[in-house]
Amino acid sequence: MLAAILSRLLRMVVVMFGISVITFLIFFATPSSDPAARIAGKNAAQETIEAVRKDFGLDRPLYVQYGLMMKRLFITRDLTSFANRGQQIVPAVAAAAPATLSLVSGAAVLWMLGGILTGITAAAWRGRWPDKLLMGISMMAVAMPVFWVGEMVNLITQNRLHDTWAFSWVPALGYTPFSQDPGLWFRSMVFPWLTLAFLYIGLYGRMLRTGIIETYQEDFIRTARAKGLTGRKVLLKHATRSAIIPIVIMFGMDFGVLVGGAAVLTEVVFGINGVGRLTYQALKVLDLPMIMATVLYASFFVVVANAVVDLLCLLIDPRMRRA
């Protein structure tokens, strides 16, 4: 067990090191990315740029620059932005992370519950109207872009019907930290959660339905039926537990990627200052320290979420415990 965790940690370090190196190299290969010119500002004289280059150590070999950046990011934690002078990177990411985590975690609970319920219900009534209805809605959920859904939700809850009894409780757009006002935090997150979860409920519901229906072809389902189990027990205990494994694996990926910043569209639509938005802004101005920090932060969550999922799979499926 300890060996497994250690080997997992080692792999995580290797992955993050690889990603940071690639990010670093790609940045310097990008046209007009010269950090010195950016720091010096528009229309700066050549001498100013050279001075900045020397000041910031940008004239030193790349590996030295890489080492310095990692040291300032992880050890001294005083790495500053190239674009916004004096902006400290680590606190900025630390401030954005809770917003994204709140958004994605809440949505994840909703979409796992909704997706599993949808998948099981559709599989149980396969070919009949509950199945057709749920699969139709799921298809729509997958097909509609999340920013469009978000805008429509805003249109209704913030604008058209905001003053009616139904939506008057919805606060204005934006994120309120949980520590500040839990009630407000919850009320402001309800519609972002639903919006983000909608797409994934559709995806997961469809996948689980297909998985359950495929599992019904298995010999062990025939065995379960032959020994006289009720239809409900066959469905919930024998078919669903096998079919849920791919869903759990996919959940790990999706959760990690979203916490890492892929929820940017939802964040922007609902005015939440999360990691996705931070990354997007950093990319617009080619701000290497910020890009580096957010990319590493994202890769950390993807790797951690995958490790957690692997553990979950071990709990569900004993066959994976052998290796």
Binding site: F220, A226, K227, G228, T230, S242, A323
Partner: protein, 617 residues
Amino acid sequence: MTDLATLTPAAAVGTRPILSIRDLSVSFLGARNSWTRVIEGLSFDVAPGETVALVGESGSGKSVTSLSVLGLLDPATSRLEGSILLDGHDVLKLDEAGMIRHIRGQAAAMIFQEPMTSLHPIYRVGDQIMEALTSHRDMPKAEARRQAIALLERVRIPNAAKRIDDYPHAFSGGMRQRVMIAMALASRPKLLIADEPTTALDVTVQGEILDLLKDLQAEFGMAMLFITHDMGVVAEMADRTVVMLRGRSVEQGPTAAIFADPQQPYTRALLASVPVLGSMKGEPAPLRFPVVDMKTGVAGEALPLRSKPDLTAPILDVRDLVTRFDVRGGMLNRRVARVHAVENVSFRIFPGETLSLVGESGCGKSTTGRSIIRLNDRSTGSVRLGDDDLFGLGAEAMRRKRREIQMIPQDPLASMNPRMTVGDALVEPFLEHGMGTAAEGRAKAARLMDQVGLTAAMLERYPHEFSGGQRQRVCIARALMLDPRLIIADESVSALDVSVKAQVVNLLLDIQDRMGIAFLFISHDIAVVERISHRIAVMYMGEIVEIGPRAEILERPRHAYTRQLIGAVTVPDPARRHLRRNLAVTELRTPIRPLDYAPPVRRYEEVAPGHLVMIEG
């Protein structure tokens, strides 16, 4: 002592049958909403304590019959008519809830062909048995567990109290079938339906399971409906037999009568096609199967192989072949053990000769075949084909050399590209090896199709348009396209029905007669091996334990394992009805060894000319 009376049909006369099927018809919904009859007018009875065998070739509807009895067919795509009376309930009139209350896991229980996939992989075997116990009656968990252990002991699983908490993957195929049987017995059913319960198992394991079923039937006094394609198993298990053909019952009656005096041509043909171990005593050369006239069921004369192997120089010389695979795991995916799949195997094959490799699953016989043509690159030793050392050739030279060794696979459908016509599949390797133009390839393919008993017009068809036997003929034609000197046939006839199996074996012998090709015939089916081989090598745990001329090995086996293997083969002789092999229950033995394992140096004793036996101990 068992009361033998409960086992014989005589006692059953007069009592009410436990299962009575009358005029059963089953239709399946096919393409374009058309219904196809798969069972037509089937009627038979099973008396309490009696064993009835349903026997027939694939597609005869025997499995569908068994699934109908438990109502396990999908009601949306199947239609059943007639009546099935099981323990006083009319199965076709019961709804799903009624089936669960009275039939499934109550009056009747079922075991299946594939023990590897029939247990739920992610629940402990104990939980699966306990579920069968508690789903029909209220039972405290501790009591269910106690009973599950008792059941596992009943099916002779060693160390049952400990194994109950293992998952299915920790059991071998035979052990899993025992677990399935324990689960079926949980409800003390009056009828046990066994659908090809030993088909997927090795012969020695098959013997153990058949013994177990006979014992349990006597202990529990239950009736059995035994579905199989294997006449040997029928002879050994069944009081009465129902012979099925294309969904109809052709003939039914006491097993002894059916075997001694079959009335219908089809039954006669079926019995005549069965390869029987021991039928080759005194025959000097491989012998074709007699050609059976399917209309009259009369068997013609069996033609022997005319050509003789050319013993001057071997075509294939394998020396000290070793293939090991790493087992990885733990931290950083290190090597933790090694599978000694093939260990110091040496043999020679001469032109026009057939050497058979026999042994049970996992003994390394297929790996040997694959290692010879370098389909895995982890082998050491030397393999000489004619004058070339195959292990010393470069990649391109080896690719060209592959032309001379061709393979015939076990599963012809899986080995053909479904999107390529048979003609393209045949011509492709011909062109790849630069043996001629496309037109020449076509002409050769047409000629070979003719030789394997198909027609040139079939070259335009796709693999799915052929029957199983025809597909295997196509695979043989594909192998012949490159004028090979040696053909490796890996379980090439194992999946075929008996009548088709005989035809394909005859075809292989025809080809050997005509072209003098050597065969390495890999098979677990010893009755077929007896027909086709000049020499036989017996493999066990990656090593050859005995090798020699066919008659020597089969009539005077010296090694304990060879004897065990031959003793386990079923023979279509109803006199063996009450035979018990009394084999010790064997656990799966695998050639997985620790990294520092040094294989012992083996010595062989020549007990007769060319007959070598590994010295044990």
